[in-house]
Amino acid sequence: MSASLEKGIHALKEVIDAPIASYFESCVHCGLCAEACLFHTETGDPKYTPIHKLEPLRRVYEQEYTLLGRLKKMVGLSKPVTDDELDQWQELVYDSCTLCGRCSLVCPVGNDIVYMVRKFREGMAVSGHVPDGIRSATKRTVELGGPMGLKWPAVANVLKHAEENTGLKIPVDQAGADYLVLLSSMEIVNYPEYIEALAKIFHKAGISFTLASDAYEATNAGIQIGSSDLAKVIVSRIVDAAEKLKVKNVLSPECGHAYMAIRWEGPNLVGRPFGFNVVHVLELLDELRQKGVLKMKDKIKDPLILHDPCQIVRRGGVLQAPEPLIQQVAENYIPIVDKQKLNWCCGGGGGASAIHTEEAEALRAQAFRIKKRQIEEAGVNTMVTFCANCRITIEEGFDHYEMNTKLLGLTELLAEHLED
């Protein structure tokens, strides 16, 4: 056994807890989880059945933690997990799983399958069976500050532009602010309008905010790769900055995995509860809406549907904010059948969008057909969402299928129609 495999198996043994044991013991191979996974529904390939993606982890559980499994191992009747096998499983655990968690919502015996995939990735990361795309994104985040290799001067430059465009001051490293605003590289590079939108809304609501020059990146590739050690390093930057600046709240950007990383995994990674609140930007906006601060001067007329990002809604618990907000700004919002916590993933979450092999990209395009169908069935030309990573993936899908659907970000849409 190679040293890395040994470490990987050890990591798998470490992550197995009572829930995982209970889940494996409960599975009856009914295959219903496959019906909830877009990689299966859009390809028809049974290998994408969510519970199958965990087979090596199941065997480690059986061989290490059950009496019968240990007996079988002793007499040589069990099949050990090998490097070759984990290599084969890489596609199943990364390319074809976005950690969207829809499978966990349907399993009749109650298995939280995505919980297990997340844990399985710990062993995959340690044993070196990780797609290059996610590996380099993680490396850039640890070494340079963000998954796209963006450094502070570039961010400061974007902020300067935003100040010029809005005529509003964007404070940096200002202690005692109500909110420490986090961004995702994707927003800084591709959707800088988000920052302008926030500045306008904060100004209007009279809330103080700041950015931190040493902690602006909210995404956490360490979680996507499955390395808690690296994830901790990345999330600690934010915790340190928030504590140093003594802010009351940390504002997660729209980005879904960023929210998951800081709001739900963060305290568990650093090993203690936070002394500040972590708020998703939509939660703040909905609060402002309820207070009557978020008044619109007009509404968008185009019929449109909403794409609920998995990590914010189904996995993040921001269930109630998105619909009232879209209704606030859209005259013809059309609720789709599988919405809110039942929504289908864009196909690019969980680090998948960082994998640029030909196979992974083809698979992503195929999985995207489910979003295409949702748009076509609703008969709309506009979709609104609130996650920078979803936006990139969806725009790639639009390009691939040559669709002329418009994609809008919710926060920007609100800012655009905000009363002057």
């Binding site: 009572a18 599975c27 191979h29 219903l32 019906e35 009496l67 509860p273 618990g317």
Partner: protein, 219 residues
């Protein structure tokens, strides 16, 4: 060994051994699984109506929106054979009598004709489920020896019990002895196979419900 001796063995030592392995097995497996524990979630919880472990224990008994249409055989077949098995095991007169002998508790039974009909419907549902497992690519792909074996181990007691009461194929004594033996095999296999989901599914649903309730998501 005569038929009567065989029957006497299945009713005496055979039953004791099977029940013993079953009880110790269940206890052992539950300890093995649930003493692994889990880490406390340190993130500040979000509260939401309808989100808790207990909610999920009950909610998962019904198909989530859209799922019945996607896999009708799994749900309808699954309901019929699970409910059928429960009716036969817990409301058939001879079974209540057996439970009374073992633990002293008893309750009213359903007429034997009704139990007979339930057995036929249950077996039909199980055969449909088996056909579905063979036909559906996902189910066939997931299936291992254990899936076929546990199907047979569950099916045989129903079949032999029904055949005994209908006096089919073999003399009553022989068929009854086979019925009891097959039920004993089921008891022995249950704690060490996927049939153990009958115990762990409550824990699994609870964990899933609990973990997601912490984030304010009713699942």
């Amino acid at each position: 060994m005569t038929d009567l001796q065989f029957l006497t063995w299945t009713r005496g030592p055979g039953l004791d051994i099977a029940v013993g392995i079953f009880l110790l097995g269940v206890l052992w497996r539950l300890i093995e699984i649930y003493t692994l524990g889990r880490k406390k979630d340190l993130a500040a919880p979000r509260h939401a109506a309808g989100a808790s472990g207990l909610h999920t224990v009950f909610r998962r008994s019904l198909p989530p929106p859209g799922m019945l249409k996607r896999s009708p055989v799994s749900y309808i077949g699954g309901y019929i054979f699970h409910i059928g098995l429960a009716i036969i095991v817990f409301l058939g007169a001879p079974h209540i009598l057996l439970i009374q002998n073992l633990v002293g508790l008893s309750w009213p039974s359903l007429p034997s004709q009704f139990i007979g009909l339930t057995a036929v419907v249950t077996m039909a549902a199980m055969v449909v489920m088996l056909a579905d497992r063979i036909n559906k690519p996902v189910k066939r792909f997931l299936s291992t020896f254990e899936d076929w074996f546990t199907w047979a181990v569950t099916f045989l007691p129903v079949l032999t019990g029904w055949m005994a009461t209908q006096h089919l194929l073999l003399p009553y004594t022989q068929m009854l002895a086979l019925h009891i033996l097959s039920a004993e095999v089921l008891l022995v296999v249950l704690p060490f196979s996927k049939l153990f989901h009958g115990f762990t599914l409550f824990g699994s649903r609870w964990y899933n419900g609990r973990v997601n309730a912490h984030k304010g998501v009713p699942v």
